[in-house]
Amino acid sequence: MSKVLVVDPSLCTGCHRCEMWCSLTKYGEINPSRSNVYVIRREPAVDVPVVCMQCGLCIDVCPTGALKRDGATDAVVVDENLCTGCGTCVKVCPYGVLRVDEETDVAAKCDLCSGSPACVSHCPHGALRYEDAGKAAARRREIWAVAHAVRIR
């Protein structure tokens, strides 16, 4: 079973280094606004990395078939030769983690760095992890349960 990118917001300090590593890895520059991981820092004291769930909703709506699931990582990846930059995927993404890159004019999203996500390798506090799907599911359950404890009861 392939691995999954998971987030533990309680460990995030809001340093934005994942965004910088992402843009350095993908474009050779440091530019958080060209990152495919998004750190939301708000007040009071909220720091949450938002990442692509690889749900694949965007695959179905892409008019040119530019979005596909990668056989090795299960990541949804953009075929830059087919993408026209129309932005339909951006409109449909429920997490807001798709964008049309301002310089390349094609859709950009997390592709899990072909199985070795730069954001995970460099997160100083372990807020981003790349884990076996079973373990990741357990972690998600726990985070979801704790976050919604009041409402569930």
């Binding site: 340093c15 934005h16 910088m20 050779g28 520059e29 440091i30 958080p32 060209r34 004291a45």
Partner: protein
């Protein structure tokens, strides 16, 4: 093409409401490397000596460096460079948060501000566009309210706001500029300078990135730094924050208490980092791009010191609003810290001004008549908090305290002089020169902004920390002699400690990660690798050292032009007396002059005047500073 820098300088003249954008000159920039080095050149050459820091002609430089906003693990800084209204000296107030990185992403390495707006304004810089906008509706609001209002007004939650609060508007001489709600360009009164210009805030955001000359090599250098920093000697700081130092420093007799009357505090366990962490901490938070995350948010849920979530308090603030005033109530300290941040006050000068007033009250130099019946007794947390309010609004006794310790002492007469703990008018921070480090004693005497533990470095790394920080290969005397030794070695060592710190100051780096040894911190050599791959300049550690010396020397020249010489490089008289009690009882500074002799000589400065010799200035390419 610019790598590592945005390549642009923005000039704003508030008098006419005009601005212009200038391309930076690569060769000239590289001589100073950037940030405070280049800002020193700008202010030395563009601002005549003797200018009133609160006059419209006074200039302010917001400066970033090569590593600001990059992956360099210490790279989130910007520095505000200006002539201080508190001291009349050069000042550089560093701050973290997101402001520096976002200024660079918006397209500017430097912003030079001069003039005075007719009515309150704020400056909005976004993606290379600049607007000077009315701020009448923001005048009178605190930093928190201003930030919230600007986020609504500009409809962008990602902006970074650097703003003054009421303290800056009211001209408190140690008012701070606060960015991102809780990070302070704290020392020296930049808030009052902003206030004098009718400038409420500078707001930045940008989608531009920073180009990297050799991305693969840069990634490798950063990874090396990330690996080395796993061995960082102050690794406990992130777990408790800098407040973790309270217990340690107290056990060593280096925790200043009661206006530096002593160096330990019996109730230190009531204000410890451990307690802050357990009872009041919400979470750890990092400055932009920093893997260290020494910052933390705290709050107090209920009671007379109930406080909403806010950044801090840090070690300095805990000591300054705590033991320095005899206060052992962490909730009062958290409340005081909150008020300093929202009103825009430097917590160090605030705490020291309150402590000085308390000592004067104890000695009968201030009486109930001066304080409207409020007894200024040591240890009264409520009084401390009330005084913070009064200082920010310059109300009652607050108007006296708002001028800082030096001016207060001048008004209270010679008997108060002995209790005035400052150098060149800058109140001393929470580090004890008698028992913590004798190199620190030298730094307090000579630092260009006055009594300061951080600019350009925390000098105690040498004898207290026993850390060479990569300076051995440049000839720093090693190993350090004992803590109490006041031989020439300490003076000579300070040259290396200062220049090593200055490297961070010209690169736009926070100095925290520069303390250690090869393999455990970012040494000048490792900075050279990072900066070379980033900028493509092939910088060596030796070139960084030369640029650091150029910058450090030019700041000395700036002060020389303002009339400061060796005669001003002195410590408060209290430090010649022994610490009376506690673990460090008996420690004092006896031999400052000999250490200073050695320091000036090591710098190539004249021993009598303490000023850079003309041949040294020429050697550094600073001919324009030769008189």
């Amino acid at each position: 093409m610019w790598y590592g820098f945005a390549g642009k300088l923005l000039r704003i003249n508030l008098t006419g409401g005009e601005y212009k954008v200038e391309e930076l000159d690569k060769n000239e920039l590289r001589k100073y490397m950037g940030c405070t080095g280049y800002a020193a050149r700008l202010l030395y050459q563009e601002m005549p000596g003797g200018i009133d820091p609160l006059a419209p002609e006074a200039k302010v430089v917001l400066a970033t460096g090569a590593v600001t906003g990059t992956l360099c693990p210490s790279g989130g800084s910007y520095e505000v460079c200006y002539k201080s209204p508190l001291t009349g000296t050069w000042n550089q107030a560093r701050s973290g948060g997101a402001f520096g990185p976002k200024l660079k992403y918006a397209g500017f390495d430097f912003v030079v501000i001069e003039g005075k707006a007719e009515e309150p304004v704020y400056v909005y810089i976004r993606d290379g566009e600049v607007e000077i906008k009315p701020a009448k509706h923001l005048w009178g609001l605190n930093v928190e309210e201003t930030t919230n209002a600007l986020i609504r007004e500009l409809d962008d939650p990602e902006i970074s706001v650097a703003a003054i609060g009421q303290a800056g508007e009211n001209g408190v001489l140690y008012a701070a500029l606060i960015n991102d709600r809780g990070r302070a360009a704290g020392r020296g009164g930049i808030g009052a300078v902003f206030g004098s210009k009718n400038l409420k805030a500078v707001v930045v955001n940008g989608r531009g990135g920073i180009k990297v000359a050799r991305p693969k090599e840069f990634a490798e250098a950063v990874e090396k730094a990330e690996q080395w920093l796993k061995n960082y000697p102050f690794g406990s700081i992130p777990s408790l924050g800098t407040v973790g130092l309270v217990s340690l420093n107290n056990s060593l007799g280096i925790l200043p208490a009661k206006n530096f009357q002593t160096a330990h505090f019996e109730k230190a366990d009531q204000i410890s980092g451990e307690l802050l962490n357990r009872k009041y901490q919400i979470k750890r938070r990092a400055c932009y791009g920093c893997s260290f995350a020494c910052g933390r948010y705290t709050s107090v849920g209920s009671g007379k010191f109930a406080t909403p979530p806010m950044e801090g308090p840090e070690y300095e603030t805990v000591d300054m609003l705590g033991p320095i005033c005899g206060v052992a109530d962490l909730e009062a300290i958290i409340r005081g810290n909150y008020l300093c941040n929202v009103y825009g006050l430097d917590t160090i000068s605030t705490g020291m001004s309150i402590a000085f007033a308390m000592e004067c009250y104890e000695k009968g130099l201030l009486t109930d008549r001066d304080t409207e019946g409020m007894p200024l007794r040591w240890g009264d947390g409520e009084v401390m908090v009330k005084l913070v309010e009064k200082i920010a609004h310059r109300e009652g006794i607050g108007a006296l305290l708002a001028q800082g310790v030096k001016r207060m002492a001048e008004q209270l007469g010679p008997a108060a002089e002995e209790a005035a703990i400052h150098v060149k008018g800058l109140e001393l921070p929470a580090h004890e020169p008698r028992s913590e480090s004798k190199v620190l004693a030298v730094q307090y005497a000579v630092s260009p902004r006055g009594g300061c533990h951080m600019h350009p470095n925390w000098a105690s790394t040498y004898d207290f920390g026993q850390l060479d920080c990569g300076m051995k290969e440049f000839g720093m005397p090693w190993p350090p002699t004992g803590m109490q030794d006041e031989s020439q070695q300490k003076g000579v060592a300070y040259r290396y400690v200062a220049l090593q710190g200055e490297i961070s100051e010209i690169l736009g780096a926070c100095i925290f990660y520069s303390w250690g040894t090869e393999g455990s911190c970012i040494t000048p050599q490792l900075y050279a690798e990072i900066v070379s791959a980033l900028t493509g300049w092939d910088v060596t550690a030796a070139e960084l050292m030369t640029a650091a010396e150029r910058s450090w020397t030019l700041k000395r020249c700036f002060n020389a032009r303002e009339g400061f010489t060796r005669k001003d490089d002195k410590l408060p008289g209290r430090f010649a007396q022994a610490i009376p009690d506690g673990p460090s009882a008996g420690a004092r500074v006896e031999n400052l002059d000999a250490m200073l002799d050695a320091y000036y000589e090591a710098m190539g400065w004249d021993r009598q005047t303490g000023l850079p010799a003309p041949e040294k200035l020429r050697e550094l390419g600073l001919e324009f500073a030769v008189n």
